[in-house]
Amino acid sequence: MPHRLSDRHLSVLALAGVVIALGWILPNAYFLRIATLVWIFALATLGLTVLIGQAGQVSLGQAGFLGVGAYAAAILPTRYGLPPLATPFVGAFVSGALAFLVGRPILRLKGHYLAIATLGLGFLISLVLTNEVGWTGGPDGMQVPRPVVFGVSLSQPSTWYWISAASLLIGAWLVLNLDGTTTGRAFRALRDSEVGASVMGIDVSRMKLRAFVLAAVYASVAGSLLGLSNGFVTPDQSSFLQSVELVTMSVLGGAHSVVGAILGSAMLVLLPQVLTVMQDYETLVLGAIVVVVMIFLPSGLVPALVDLTKRLTR
């Protein structure tokens, strides 16, 4: 289907346009830092777009993999002398392998049981990161050494803006491409009916595992980027609340949609920044906003916007 192909490329091109424009417009380091966070969390959320939106499996422990990636960026260079820029790849490999090993038994569970199992997994990772003080620096977290390329230390906010933006674009392009492949179609069949999918000859448990590993790798790379760009990691990044935030980002924007993942991340990264003026009421307002959005737009922002434009143009 050639028109779908061009659709895909158009989306990525449009996204690239936005990213480049923002890179030019944003006035100072503060805004660049915020935008960088949006791209990084969007990358992690894209993994959930595949897992929740396409394959229909839920994970409440995604921040665990975010933590693995972040601590890979912190631990490997300081303790093993690995070059910092190699750490996202090693972290992704570790996360993927972990997801592969744990995923097989866990993914046999369904619905709420799968939710509690993934939640437990994330929780365990978070506990290890908090308690193994000798390795991870404990609850206080640890420093991440800055990568040095050709004698230049990568610490400028603008540098990390472009690195995270490029990673997001590549990630988004891969997810969009997945849509048209056999695996992508198998994911969707799985979401619509597991029994139906297995009757069609789809290896259900293998497909679930594939989506789970992919989501773990996305979260892990995002975690590494987070650690490298912040120069610092803490166990909070692997906490249950962080996992909840990631799922909320995905569902808030629209679980099936790549643009939704980015929009959802933007909302949840920007909201606390805006709400800091309300000081004590920050948590309260955040909760209220999440509830209100989910009640009135249960399938997320992007599908609601698409509906609206369809109705207007008809």
């Binding site: 049981y113 199992a117 929780f123 999440v290």
Partner: protein, 290 residues
Amino acid sequence: MAELLQYIATGITIGSVYALVALGFTLIYNCSGIVNFAQGEFVMIGGMVTVALTAYGLPLEAAAVGAVGVSIVVGIAIYILAVAPAGRASPVTVIIITIGVSIFLRGAAQVLFGKQFHGVKPFLSEQPVMILGAAVQSQAFLVIGGTAAASLLFWILLERTLIGKALMATAANRLAAQLVGINLRRVMLIAFGGSAAIGAIAGILVTPITLTSYDVGTMLALKGFAAAMLGGMGSPLGAMAGGLLLGLAEALSAGYLSSAYKDAIAFLATFAVLLLAPNGLLGRRSVNRV
């Protein structure tokens, strides 16, 4: 021996709280299919309101009744304002709504009560009771007794009253229940109110032992959820068993293995059980209609 007894006493006490939270989960889940992640906040509200009301000079009994009342109002408000308007949204959406509610309640508690820990004096005496060399706080007996009483009441409500029959009918088949004239909205209100009351009772009883703060709800919700899963979602008996088992596993592993990893062992136990019995210990085997 004394050591073991001590751990078991601690385990049963904290396990009772998990059991009550799990029971609250079960009540709402059975009637609506919703996992209410704000369940832990009821425990927080129970403790916090008791602390606040006694600080205003109210006697403990009145404060406790007030706390249960406030919690029931919040529970009913959650249903009317947040859950009912969502209608037939997907389970993930509803989970996120209840998580949003719990964030909201935590934020409200932070504004109203501040971020510090609050406590109330033990209800009976501050002297621990010695049993075979193990020192057990008198409050622990109240927690265990209260849990037993609350679950007995719960059982009588479910099995021996018309309201209970309506709840059970809704749990078994929502459409059929509506067809025989059960008012679904009223059933839901009772489920949310009852669940809030159970959580608040747990909070009131345990606050003298564990203290309370605006953010205790999250962890309790997680543990209660794990307990409900461990026992088998939807089974009240399973919820009780799961809660007590989780409490015991936690206390024993904190005592003999490592206190830093006690939470890990609770979750590992849940993992192991779920892998062997994917529907929990006492859960109904699920049959999927194709």
